[in-house]
Structures are given as C-alpha cells and as structure tokens.
Symmetry: C2
Subunit: 106 residues, 2 copies
C-alpha cells in the first residue's frame, strides 16, 4: 500500500471535483476561460458562493485565474478531465443498465 499521505492528497483533488456546481464550472471552463460573473450566472448561486467554489478548485490546483482590470478570469489548468468524465459517465451508464435490468425482470 502506498503512503497514507498520497491517498489524502488524491482525496483532496477528488473532493474538489465532487460537487455539482463545481462540475458545472469545470464543464464551462473546458471550452474557454470565464470571469466570475459569467460563472455566477451559469451556476445560478450567490456570487460569494461561486467565489468559494472557485477557491476550492484553485486550491486543489485544478484551475488558475488571471486578472484583467476588475474582472478575474478562471481557466482550466488540467487537461485530463475529459477522461475523468468519460470514466464517470461509463459508471452512470452501467448503473442505469443494471437498474433497467431490475425493472425488466419484475
């Protein structure tokens, strides 16, 4: 087994991704960088809430920000998230398939 510290580090990154609002943000940032105001509209939560979500992502090293005048633009720093979603999507599809199998057999 690897050192516990590694698992905690991994968990921190995984935890940063494990929230619907943050997933929305990451999905949006996959295409282009966006300012906090845009992301706030997109997520549909309070600006301060979105700001805190962004802080979590930044702290985990998943996004980076850039200041331009009053605005702060966030962008993805990680390129492998697509594979991430693909993996998760696979789990979801499999779960769905199993659910349907259960329903069908009743």
């Amino acid at each position: 087994m690897k050192p516990r510290q590694l698992y905690e580090a991994r968990a921190k990154v995984a935890k940063a991704v494990a929230h619907p609002s943050r997933l929305i943000i990451l999905d949006a940032l996959a295409d282009k960088e966006m300012c906090v105001c845009d992301l706030t509209d997109l997520v549909g939560a309070d600006q301060s809430t979105v700001s805190k979500h962004l802080a979590v992502l930044k702290n985990a090293g998943i996004v980076a920000d850039r200041k331009e005048g009053v605005m702060i633009y966030y962008r993805l720093k990680v390129g492998c998230l697509k594979g991430f979603w693909h993996c998760i999507e696979g789990v979801l599809k499999q779960n769905l398939k199993e659910q349907q199998a259960i329903m069908g057999s009743s």
Copy 2:
C-alpha cells in the same frame, strides 16, 4: 450546459471516490477482490466504518460484492480508475512543481 441532473449524478460518483479510506480500498481492489476483514485491516479503521465506506462505493456503482460463506468479497466494477489516478497524480505533481518554484524563488 447539460442538465443539472447529470452534474448531480456525476458528483455522486466523484464524491464516492473522494475519501482517503475509500481510495485505499479502491487501490487494493485494483489487484484482486478482497473480503471486508482484509480491507478493515488495510484501512485500519473500525469494521463498521469500513463496511459503510464499502456501501458508499457499492451504491455509486464502483464496486460489487460476492458472498462466499461468511465472507463477502468486494471487487472493482470499473476499469477506468487507473486513468483517474493518473490524471489526479498529474495535478499533484504540477502542484508540487509550483510549490517548489515558489520556494526556489525566495
């Protein structure tokens, strides 16, 4: 933007992975199936705690279990986790590199 429901479903899977003990479990299951007792020793927590962690992973569709006598063996149901870790590991390495850059420049 995709339906909010999708992000919630994704988040559930991501959340299931986002805990050190569960990461230890998943890492161990990558090689072979293991019974709860083995995993309990490995994680080093109370048996009931490990049992609940396993329930979380099972509920998310990441692991499956098999009963054999008194023992219950858990196994990975998802094959793409290796890419998962690789992606996270990349983030961690990058974070480390940036930390070192900061230390070096002082």
